[in-house]
Amino acid sequence: MSDFKAFDFRTRFGTKHFPSPIFTASGCAGYGRELSQFFDLGELGAVVTKSIAVKPRSGRPTPRMAETPSGMLNSIGLQGPGIDDFLEHDIPWLQKSGARTIVSISGESIEEYASLARRLRSVTGLSGIEVNISCPNVENRGLVFACDPIASRSVVEAVRRNIGGELPIIVKLSPDVTDIVAIAREVVDAGADGLALINTVLGMVIDIDARRPKLAGITGGLSGPAIRPIAVRAIYQVHSALPNIPILGMGGVASGRDALELVFAGASGISIGTATFGNPTAAIVVKTELENLLKERGFTSFTEAIGAAHER
């Protein structure tokens, strides 16, 4: 079915244009090195790196994962080398590799987000910042920022103030809230150029032989095809409320058809997360399938398809 009429696959977040709407999902592609053996990272809109913190983090003890029906739970605990090490070793490699890079940051306080933004301000050649606010706020009884409109807003204001320039800020929201649109409005109001939907859903598995939670971290984040209907719903709700804010959609996308569902719901880009664990080349498979599905349906550019399910 795929014809040869030129097809424009580009998409945009804030000031940045991307040649492809397929991205990696933070925490599901490391810092790029591991996947570069399987495909050219330049094929992606961008590599979204594992959320980086101010200091090195050991992450949580093992077991860190449990497979669930059509999904998995993870409790990694944001393991990472910290921003200094990251800027010294990982960013340079990514830039040499020819990949566009969106850096995901995570903090335990407003000040940590601010200082991460300051560190990234000086880095040239980045395509954006993804702000992971699904992290416990040590200054507020460990309440997750993303669950509190005010805390979410403050994080984004702090990042906006410190990042300066025109680097797009994409804020990643948690689905574990009563009203995701309310949170979306706050962070957009605070200066977010785009939104990433959705982070994992809080879940738990019990080991019925050991009679205790399977994960050392007790609860974990549910991801994979099991949560796709939740992602589609969140994207649809937020896109209807804020039609002009680009959404980086994710949640159980493993095929072009899955991706198209999120695009029709309102996503301007698609991140591939858990699917990469089942298939190292998942991002490329999705990219190829999505392009063909769009062409078969007579689209001449990707952007025409964004939010198409809202039209009637």
């Binding site: 599901c28 053996q37 983090r57 994962m65 998995m72 993870n74 393991q79 190292p280």
Partner: protein, 285 residues
């Protein structure tokens, strides 16, 4: 290219044979060029469950043997223990079925330059990667003694062709149904002293590896072991498979057993760290 996973390829491979051996299935796959890239200790990651499966993650299996010549071209052999849904699904595949395989992955057993006396210790299907290793050591002129243990006879995997490359093979079972009643470690000291063992290689359950490492330590012997942690991706991107390992500088880091392992230096592992982060680990809370 980063160097990580650099020998890995992804391929739809055909099942050439599937035979039951004790509690296990010995399976052979036509893998073409993948075979030539395998070194003992490597593993492969296989998708399981078929098209509309609810199992979304690959399953990891150590390579038992790999050969790049032969009538079917390159082949890889695995020893599968039907454990849960995924491994059972794999063990039920018929000849000519195709499965999706990524490999070879992970680190491999280091081979000493000069001929040495090696003791190979395997638990359950953990014997699988040791036979390929034994063959290489043998060809390098090493003396190779092997201890294989399991809970019961059916869970010891010790095929004839494998035995050829070892100087002596000793079995232990916890129920005494084969070999000596007891654990692999009961026989280690005797063999280490009798044959002036220089290096120990091991593969099996974590608890066994830890016990083997204690013995290795007490005799100041090098110990290379293949660890087994739950893996979601097998290629280094998910951080689920970590174990605490001391680096050169002595810093403990949570290292990915899929790319910094499965074969690691036993003396560098901080044992017994399931459900806790060892004191002083880099970036510990």
């Amino acid at each position: 290219m980063s160097g990580i996973n650099q020998r890995a390829i992804q391929k739809s491979v055909e099942v050439l044979s599937n035979k039951r051996v004790g509690s296990y299935h010995h399976m052979v796959f036509a893998v073409g060029e993948m075979a030539a890239r395998v070194v003992p200790g490597n593993f492969v990651a296989i998708s399981v469950g078929g098209p509309s499966s609810n199992l979304i993650l690959r399953r990891a299996f150590a390579v038992y043997r790999a050969s790049d010549r032969g009538q079917y071209g390159g082949t890889i052999e695995l020893v599968i223990a039907p454990h849960g849904s995924g491994s059972k699904w794999l063990a039920e595949r018929d000849i000519h079925d195709r499965i999706d395989m990524v490999g070879p992955l992970g680190t491999n057993f280091g081979i000493p330059k000069d001929p040495v006396n090696a003791l190979l210790v395997g638990g359950g299907y953990g014997s699988a990667p040791l036979f390929g290793l034994a063959e290489i050591l043998k060809n390098r002129g090493c003396r190779v003694d092997m201890i294989l243990g399991a809970s019961t006879a059916g869970k010891i995997y010790a095929p004839l062709e494998g035995k050829r490359s070892v100087s002596s093979l000793h079995l232990t079972t916890e129920d005494g149904s084969a070999g000596a009643k007891g654990r692999v470690t009961d026989l280690m000291v005797g063999l280490i002293e009798r044959h002036q063992v220089d290096i120990i290689y091991s593969c099996g359950p974590m608890a066994m590896l830890e016990a083997v490492d204690k013995v290795a330590m007490s005799h100041q012997l090098m110990h290379q072991c293949a660890v087994e942690e739950s893996m979601a991706c097998g290629i280094g991107v998910c951080m689920t498979c970590v174990i605490p390992i001391r680096d050169e500088s002595g810093t403990i880091k949570m290292s990915r057993s899929c790319i910094d392992g499965p074969v690691v230096d036993g003396s560098k592992v901080v044992w017994g760290s399931s459900r806790k982060i060892p004191e002083g680990t880099w970036g510990a809370p």
